[in-house]
Symmetry: C2
Subunit: 213 residues, 2 copies
DNA sequence: TACATATTATATGGATACATATGGAAACTA
DNA sequence: TAGTTTCCATATGTATCCATATAATATGTA
């Protein structure tokens, strides 16, 4: 049987990503224990894991709360994300396998369909799939891990930068350029294009953060 | 009072870095509890944290052991480290503050002294200080965190690539070039030089790994 | 009425007790 | 003697219990 804390971690992550738990919300061990029908022990282990992966923070004797990122921290995070996303493109260009190419094409096609339907939630998901395909195609397991974790932290803020008019089509066009560069095995170009693509999202951060208030 | 598990984490990290605990070694909770004079609860919390930061791994019902990295995983790790180290140089070049410059100069001077004395352990430490100064000078807190974690994972393998004749002087010369590029605010050059510098270490990995067997 | 202090309630941090699955040893059989 | 099966020891995973620090509230005084 799997450990109870593993289930709890998934559940709590889901609660945070879905917005049920918002940054700043307090987590009480006894409440969670009652809610999930387990003792405080696995609850505490789950909380500790989430603290370690940066989703929660604790003050001694004060318990855990969903971590609040400052604008500076979010910006730093985006900067690292942009660098690593670019790196993934470069590696994917160098390595480029048949199945890797196929996955990226699938992700791109998902983006195209969603953009054509102007379905923003679908595009957000397709966007994740496209990026994930590139991560995987890099062939570097650590890189995939790092990008997953960063993605998780960014996701908490549920930023939907596509709601700007025309951004969907523009994002799709950038995805096309990036894929083309990778398929042409032009790592340097793919790297740059992806960095720029990410930075465009990051540039919107300040206004989006204000909108959250 | 600080949490007991925090002390345990530091102690266990030290044991791992110092080689007292080697990759593959099994950790038994009861033993550790007796050794540190605490109950199993804080021990378990410490173990969980170390699992989360990648230093240990657990199999259900089988407990924790010091994580063993394959050659491929170590290589991937180095690749990411090289990218992020290069990024730190670029950001440090852009931002360059007076105190940042001073810290880097201090680190470089430590390297010079150690290299002149041909003191390999001292150089290893000075090397860390030099790199840490650049990390900090980047002004990106996430980047510093990531690099710290990667450094910790690499350190477990106690790679001492300086034992090659002349490598100390060569490493020092590279450090000088990197600092010069940063001080000249030439981010692109600093980035490239650092990437190359890191890759030179990474290239020695296979032979060093074999030597560990 | 406002501020300070003391008391109490409560939630976290740690210890201990209990359940259960896994690995190893021993015994039995082919 | 080798292999298989069963039993037991032990270590992990979970629950509960205890200690203590913190915070909130109430009371008393200025």
């Amino acid at each position: 049987m799997a450990r109870a804390s593993d289930t709890l971690i998934e559940q709590l992550k889901h609660d945070i990503f879905s917005g049920l738990l918002k940054p700043g919300d307090q987590l009480e061990e006894a409440d969670l224990a009652a809610r999930f029908g387990v003792s405080r022990t696995p609850i505490r282990e789950a909380i500790r894991s989430l603290v370690d992966c940066g989703l929660l923070e604790t003050r001694p004797r004060k318990g855990a709360m969903v971590r609040v990122l400052t604008a500076k921290e979010l910006n730093d995070l985006f900067e690292v994300a942009a660098e690593l996303e670019g790196m993934a493109c470069r590696l994917a260009s160098d390595l480029l396998t048949l199945s890797g190419k196929k996955d990226i094409e699938t992700g791109l096609e998902m983006c195209r369909v969603a953009a054509e339907a102007e379905d923003i939630p679908a595009y957000a998901q397709a966007n994740l799939a496209f990026h994930a395909a590139i991560h995987k195609a890099s062939g570097n397991a650590w890189l995939v891990d790092q990008l997953d974790q960063i993605q998780a932290r960014i996701n908490v803020y549920r930023l939907m930068p596509y709601e700007v008019v025309g951004r969907l089509e523009k994002s799709l066009a950038e995805h096309r350029e990036i894929s083309d560069a990778i398929f042409a095995k032009n790592g340097a170009l793919a790297n740059t294009l992806m960095r720029d693509h990410m930075m465009l999202q990051g540039a919107r951060l300040p206004s989006l953060l204000k909108a959250l208030e």
